[in-house]
Symmetry: C2
Subunit: 363 residues, 2 copies
């Protein structure tokens, strides 16, 4: 039998192997120094970091710190996008200012959406979902990239000390649009260290694992512009991807792979019921060998998003592993959680819509 | 004897030959339709255009039109930079709004000057000289690129429909900084057609001949974004380079090639007296064959900048051609004009300094 951690998955070990090569540190080492780590931290969904210990020490010493992250307004917001919001809420509970960049320049220039579509996705899909998930307006700013003067004025200046080769390492094949997008993302992360935003400070960037090349570039740029701006290299926390309902990565470009936070209940139920699972080929086999929750997107949806109570999840996990719980029944349980979540969330969205101006900043 | 036009030079014919290949139209064809063309127009210093007839027609029909140009704040402003100002004044006399972009992003990112140096060159060298030369504050805006939100928000969006190959045609070897600079220059030219600035209109761009690749790119970009912004392809007027005092191009990077508008009198006199001329090898030869004003930077300085009176210049020109006037004496005449110009200009600069806030816009 595989080595199994009920809170991890085989995928995480792959991440850790992969990222150790690039100097990402395991997040598990920090669990003990944090105040009330959230379920994503406890359950190794947030699996790695860069210098987050320094950010945390600065915070505990009463220094100004801040958090910034970005979102890509190019499609539906699904559960794979929700982890970063849960992480932001944890920072907000600690009164740490949160800034969110809507990557509208990249969505327009690289993904080639219309400007109207970008605005709609940014607000209707992302911002309203973030608010409905609990994002607080206090100490929180959300902006579209082209509306943030500090960002768009800083990005071109950074072009001076960035090379093609560095950008190729992020994007592979380059284009003017990709270069501009990368520069803008670096400026997103660093601009809140400008004097206008209180000057240099530790800034943590919660991101998906695939964003590490941007983080590395930004940390390099920060040091190259230290003499001009006094930038402190930003820290980062990395969360893993969510398994898609088909077994691969949950991805906006594959509608059957995800459940969107705005999916109609019937559609969500249908996707869930048709999901790939960690079940065996036959019922007999499953009863003998047990299920494989570690590769099961349904188990993962519950572990990461739907069941915050450790004991409740552990009970299901054991029933699955022992072969006692078969997939069909398990999906019904998952649906009961999912249905409740979606119903409540979609109700909260209606109220959230009235509050977007408390978050959106044009400056 | 060469075919000689007292107002032209051999160099202009080269320009015309060169640019006809790229579709630049001869400016001389328009002279008759213009109201009181200025000396640069009459004397073929402004030698070419793209669609300026359309701009002029729109202006004569009472449509809103505008003029925009840019300057590179990376060194001293010399007489080679003065032609564009004389052209701007002509547009101002016709109540056509003038906008001037200080290419601070390019100066910082490509030319690698400090931000402080860029600000100093932009204001102390260029803006103050422009004002002293007669630029009026009415209907005139001058901005540093990174302070113009409309420009820096538009530039990254243009990356969507611009390719590497187009940019290579302008810059040869590319870098992220050059790409960003080119995009920003396109945004400079097009942003005054945004609704904020009164919407689409004919915009003329007075530039040196070397800037034509930017103009062509901008015209292409304008048409690609027509459906989103309704841009009208900008028109352009081209002036030739001034001959440097050493015989080549007048260039900021070769201090002995230029006389700066802020040069101390002694220094300016010394540069002028040591200038290359169109004189012959011996006095005897010159008396027999006559001088060559068409390749003489001293003659050109008088023709383009120092002598506005056609008759006065023509008299000197004839004396030179006939061998009657030798270079040493001619330089003394040139110096009397130059000295007067510099003394008056430098006095005007003192007053100009108090008025920069009437021009500089941060928005």
């Amino acid at each position: 039998m595989d080595r199994i951690d009920p809170w991890g998955s085989n995928a995480i070990e792959d991440y850790e192997r992969l990222f150790n090569q690039f100097g990402i540190q395991p997040f598990s080492e920090l669990i003990d120094i944090l105040d009330e780590p959230n379920h994503l931290m406890r359950r190794s969904v947030i699996f790695g970091h860069r210098d987050f210990d320094k950010f945390w020490e600065a915070y505990k010493n009463g220094e100004n710190v801040a958090v910034i992250t970005g979102l890509m307004p190019s499609g539906k917001m699904h559960f794979g996008h929700k982890m970063v919001v849960d992480e932001l809420l944890w920072f907000q509970e600690r009164n740490i200012p949160v800034t969110i960049s809507i990557a509208s320049i990249e969505a327009y220039a690289v993904r080639e959406l219309s400007q109207e579509a970008v605005k709609n996705f940014g607000i209707d899909e992302y911002l309203i979902n973030y608010i409905a998930l609990g994002l607080k307006p206090s100490n929180c700013e959300v902006y579209f990239q082209e509306e943030r003067k500090s960002v768009i004025s800083l990005a071109p200046l950074f072009s001076r000390r960035i090379t093609f080769n560095e950008l190729k390492a992020i994007y592979g094949e380059l284009s003017p649009a990709k270069i501009v997008s990368a520069l803008t993302q670096v400026a997103d992360i660093l601009h809140i260290q400008l004097e206008k935003y209180g000057g240099p400070k530790y800034v943590n960037v919660p991101v998906g694992a695939d964003q590490d090349p941007h983080i590395r570039l930004t940390r390099d740029v920060a040091s190259r512009y230290f003499s001009e701006y006094g930038f402190i290299s930003p820290t980062a926390t990395y969360h893993r991807f969510l398994l898609g309902l088909g077994g691969g990565k949950m991805s906006s470009s594959v509608p059957t792979s995800y459940i969107a936070l705005t999916d109609a209940l019937e559609s969500a139920k249908s996707k869930l019921m048709n999901s790939f699972t960690g079940g065996r080929d036959t019922k007999k086999e499953q009863q003998e060998l047990g299920g494989r929750p570690e590769i099961c997107p349904v188990a993962e949806l519950m572990r990461i998003h739907l069941i915050k109570d450790d004991d409740k999840f552990l009970k299901l996990y054991e029933q699955c592993k022992s072969g006692e719980l078969i997939c069909g029944d398990c999906k019904k349980i998952a649906w009961s959680y999912l249905q409740k979540f979606l119903e409540e969330h979609q109700k909260k969205r209606e109220k959230a819509r009235d509050n977007i101006d408390k978050y959106l900043v044009r400056d």
